[in-house]
């Protein structure tokens, strides 16, 4: 398909701007003017609409395809959430910071406050900030809070420990907060090696970051011990809540002994992924850490009204206002709609679907850690590799059959990883259809590696040359 710029015709005009209802007073100084107009496309509104409508049709998406991308919780994004969030489209956040402005925005302020309370209850933490704009941003915020905590106690610790199965954002976020990273390998039971962890722990460690269930979909039974070991060394414990979808109502990280947690509203709480974002990554903390949360805080006053308060000891601001409010509004709607029982059902059904998937596929695919899984299961294409078929070939074959592939090549500690997270919103019928194709792929691998290697053939483009892209570095059209 042509680029929108290639559809541009000099002199063609699109949407009309509002009509000037004021006289021109003085001209803008020529020396400060831009030399030539920004070369945006000159297209009609129909050109625009047809271009992006057709472009959208070149995507797989939850609304069109099963999308079991592991570690991403691609559950159904309920349409009512869109309607709920749209109600706030015209609320200006700056109003909340104006003198006398709080009273005018009690509605959205109450939403921030109540969502923080809901998330605190779900995770078992004492306070939550919604300011971080995605999961990784939450991690960075959480580790900055931890750094501030240590600093306030006059300590300057140097390290953060992460397991090798952790998501790349964990070490990256900790590094951004000024820490050096210590990586601990995975034990045969599928989670961080406890002895290696013990060995790595010392009084220079600021925190350990755990994902639980981890990215292998396994719940670490030693998680309380890990917290204890850390706490004994004066280190804090960080919980990456990306996989919270598995355990709502079952386990609360706060109860287990975690000090800081982030959750991904765009995973567990059903907000749409937007082709890569926006998300939202609220951070919850235990009581002792509350002072270090970002500023400002939305508080509830004695009279029941809501106010915006500066939080002077905090780490400052990690974003301008109260976070990605539109995403928060969707998550609040989701939690409020589902309620206590609904959220428990979510986790139960997510775990059921993942275990069903695992049980049905483990005959054909290598399962490196064969144990009851939580919300996702991780296979390896190692058996298929013997026939020259890689995880990526299976992924592309799935595309031809109308399924978005699982996550492949992550976690890094599994060779040829195929990480499947069906989520609770998919039905047995859908799972069965997917399983049938996965089995077909495994059998085809034995028969004809080439057939898989040539996939996909039904898409607007075939496999793309990534090396060429990285060499050419054509990232913007002239």
């Amino acid at each position: 398909m042509e680029l929108i710029y290639e559809k541009s015709v000099p002199g063609r005009s699109g949407v009309r701007v509002p009509i000037a209802d004021v006289p021109k007073v003085v001209g803008f100084p020529p020396e400060l003017r831009r030399q030539s107009p920004a070369a945006f496309p000159e297209v009609s509104e129909l050109d625009l609409v047809r271009h992006y409508t057709n472009l959208s049709r070149r995507n797989f998406s939850i609304d069109t395809n099963f999308y079991p991308l592991g570690s991403c919780t691609m559950k159904y994004n309920a349409k009512i959430m869109e309607n709920a969030a749209a109600l706030f489209a015209n609320c200006h956040p700056m109003l909340a910071l104006l003198p006398g402005g709080e009273q005018l925005v009690q509605g959205p302020l109450s939403l921030v406050y109540e969502l923080e309370r809901q998330l605190a209850e779900i995770t078992g933490m004492d306070e939550v900030t919604t300011q971080p704009l995605a999961g990784a941003h939450g991690e960075m915020t959480g580790i900055m809070v931890i750094a501030a905590y240590h600093k306030a106690r006059g300590e300057k610790r140097k390290y953060v420990i992460v397991p090798d199965s952790s998501h790349g954002t964990n070490p990256a976020s900790a590094a951004l907060a000024g820490y050096e990273i210590v990586t601990v390998p995975t034990a045969p039971y599928g989670d961080m090696d406890l002895d290696a962890f013990r060995a790595a722990m010392n009084d220079q460690v600021a925190a350990v970051m755990m994902t639980c269930p981890n990215t292998l979909g396994i719940f670490n039974p030693y998680i309380a011990e890990i917290c204890e070991i850390a706490h004994q060394a004066g280190a804090l414990t960080y919980y990456d809540g990306a996989n919270l979808n598995a355990i709502m109502g079952k386990v609360r990280p706060g109860d287990v002994g975690f000090d800081v947690i982030h959750v991904n509203l765009h995973k567990t709480f059903g907000t749409p992924h937007g082709g890569g974002g926006p998300g939202s990554g609220p951070v919850g903390v235990r009581k002792e850490l509350i002072p270090y949360l970002p500023t400002p805080r939305v508080v509830r006053k004695e009279d029941g009204s809501f106010a915006v308060e500066a939080h002077p000891e905090g780490i400052g601001r990690v974003s301008d206002f109260f976070g990605n409010f539109g995403i928060m509004a969707r998550a609040f709607a989701y939690i409020t709609l589902l309620g206590r029982e609904g959220l428990i059902e979510v986790s139960e059904q997510a775990v059921l679907n993942a275990n069903y998937m695992m049980a049905r596929l483990k005959e054909e695919y290598e399962l490196p850690f064969d144990t009851t899984c939580m919300h996702e299961c991780v296979f390896s294409a190692s058996r298929q590799l013997k026939d020259g078929v890689h995880a990526i070939d299976i992924a592309k074959y799935l595309i031809d059959r109308g399924f978005h592939p699982p996550t492949v090549y992550f976690p890094l500690n599994v060779k040829e990883a195929i990480m499947i997270e069906p989520t609770e919103t998919e039905s047995k019928e859908t799972l069965d259809a997917f399983i049938a194709v996965m089995i077909e792929a495994a059998r085809t691998a034995k028969r004809s590696a080439q057939e898989l290697q040539e996939a996909p053939v039904t898409t607007p483009v075939g496999r793309l040359d990534e090396t060429r892209a990285a060499r050419a570095l054509q990232v913007c059209c002239e």
Binding site: S13, F40, L55, N77, K250, P278, R317, L337, Y356
Partner: protein, 447 residues
């Protein structure tokens, strides 16, 4: 109501396949001692009740107030087509385009977005979006540190105070050398900024128009920075670039900005997006995702995520940034906004903002005791000096349903700006609304 489709019969069938007796059994890997001690949430409800709850909250959302406020976020017109197109399910219910063959929609759109940002700023390389304007500025500072191998940063105080807080926060554990330079009146103090640049300086950071609304040409500052092998980072307001000299024409090295004004709803603070652009030679130092053009086996053009080796999922702690999910859908809206207005419309929009603000400022300074503090040019914001504390005046006008501006006192406690008010006038403010602001302000001051 949890959107779970499986029926009791199906659940039994599935458990049988798994070989488990109950769903509870699936949770047996979790030791009893670790089980939740509480889960005290309200009961669920249906769409109908939910919307009543949400409508009640939204009704208390201040949308009846006529906003003459900006502060980095602006009440701009959004073409209807932007909403319709960005709410195509294939766009908003997809995720990061890891599998390019079934994600060409998102990938091509992001490539077009990157191109739009380059065209807007007149720089050469952009990424697929960052979180917002403040974090983009912080990422730019980090990027400059990576490029130069230095740790000091010179930060103009006339940069949005909220963004400065974010930058300070990001740099807190990585650099102890952030030097803030006070403005001179409402202008960025270019002399002082120049003087602050030293051999340790990674970058000097400015904003255009600055928080007071003043527009500058930072070409000389860029030259000075380059003399010291430091970079110039300009944070800019995209709508202004329909009129104002873009960072690329000032020889800036990195341009960033808050993308909200490009087709994103105010939505009480987000989601918006941050953009970042730089010279081609710094592309490998960009944070976040980048989409690049390539071809398939048959020579057909297509788009992929490229330079992934910089990113956290490969480089982990050595990545150029920790960002993973970005603000793709908001960036898409930004792209659509630029394409909807097009070359000519975008220019007209900027001119209209300028004209309306000029009309307003001319009318406002007709009020006894009111003057404009900006010395040079402004775009659609300007700073008034009032004969009273700006906070009081703003509170008074809010009661009449008008947000008259952002009082500067709290943001600049040391600069004696208690009576200063930044007034924003976008193209959406009608003449009648502006005239009413003038009347109300006069009343508030003099009756």
């Amino acid at each position: 109501m949890a959107y779970c489709p499986n029926t009791p019969e199906e659940i039994q069938e599935m458990l049988a396949v798994i070989g488990a007796k109950s769903i509870d059994e699936l949770f047996s890997p979790i030791p009893e001692a670790l089980r939740a001690r509480s889960f005290d949430l309200s009961e669920g409800m249906s769409e109908f009740e939910l919307m009543r709850v949400m409508q009640e909250k939204a009704a208390a959302g201040g949308t009846e107030v006529v906003p003459f406020i900006g502060g980095g976020l602006y009440d701009h017109f959004i073409p209807a087509a932007v909403d319709h197109l960005s709410s195509r399910a294939e766009f908003y219910t997809a995720y990061t385009p890891y599998q390019p063959e079934c994600s060409q929609g998102t990938l091509q759109a992001l490539y077009e977005y990157q191109s739009a940002i380059c065209r807007l700023t007149r720089l050469e390389s952009s990424n697929a979006s960052l979180y917002d304007g403040g974090t983009a500025l912080a990422e730019a500072a980090l990027m400059a540190m990576r490029i130069t191998g230095r740790h000091a940063v010179v930060l103009d105080q006339s940069v949005n105070p909220l963004h400065r807080e974010v930058v300070q926060g990001y740099l807190a554990n990585l650099s102890d050398k952030v030097v803030e330079v006070a403005p001179s009146g409402c202008s960025s103090d270019i002399e002082a900024l120049m003087a602050a640049i030293g051999e340790e300086t990674a970058a000097v950071i400015v904003q255009n128009p600055n928080f007071f609304g003043s527009v500058h040409d930072f070409t000389a500052l860029a030259a000075k920075a380059h003399e010291h092998e430091a970079l110039l980072i300009v944070s800019c307001y995209p709508i202004s670039l329909g009129l104002v000299k873009p960072p690329g024409e000032m020889d800036a090295d990195i341009a960033v900005g808050e993308g909200q004004s490009l087709g994103n709803k105010l939505s009480f603070g987000g989601p918006y997006f941050g953009f970042i652009t730089t010279r081609k030679r710094y592309i490998r130092n960009l944070p976040g995702r980048i989409v690049g053009e390539t071809i398939d086996k048959s020579g057909q053009r297509g788009y992929v995520l490229t330079l992934q080796a910089r990113e956290q999922h490969i480089k982990r702690q050595k990545a150029t940034s920790n960002i993973c999910s970005n603000q793709s859908l908001c960036a898409l809206r930004g792209l659509m906004f630029t394409a909807a207005l097009g070359k000519k419309g975008f220019e007209e929009l900027a001119a209209l903002n300028y004209d309306k603000a000029q009309y307003a400022s001319a009318a406002l300074i007709g009020i006894n005791g009111v003057s404009v503090l900006n010395e040079g040019a402004t775009f659609n914001e300007f700073t008034l000096s009032l004969p009273k504390a700006a906070s009081d005046v703003v509170a008074k006008l809010l009661a009449s349903g008008v947000a008259a501006g952002v009082p500067l006192g709290d943001y600049y406690p040391d600069l004696g700006l208690e009576n200063a008010l930044v007034v924003t006038v976008t193209e959406k403010r009608t003449r009648a609304e502006i005239d009413r602001l003038v009347v109300l302000l006069e009343e508030a001051l003099w009756s």
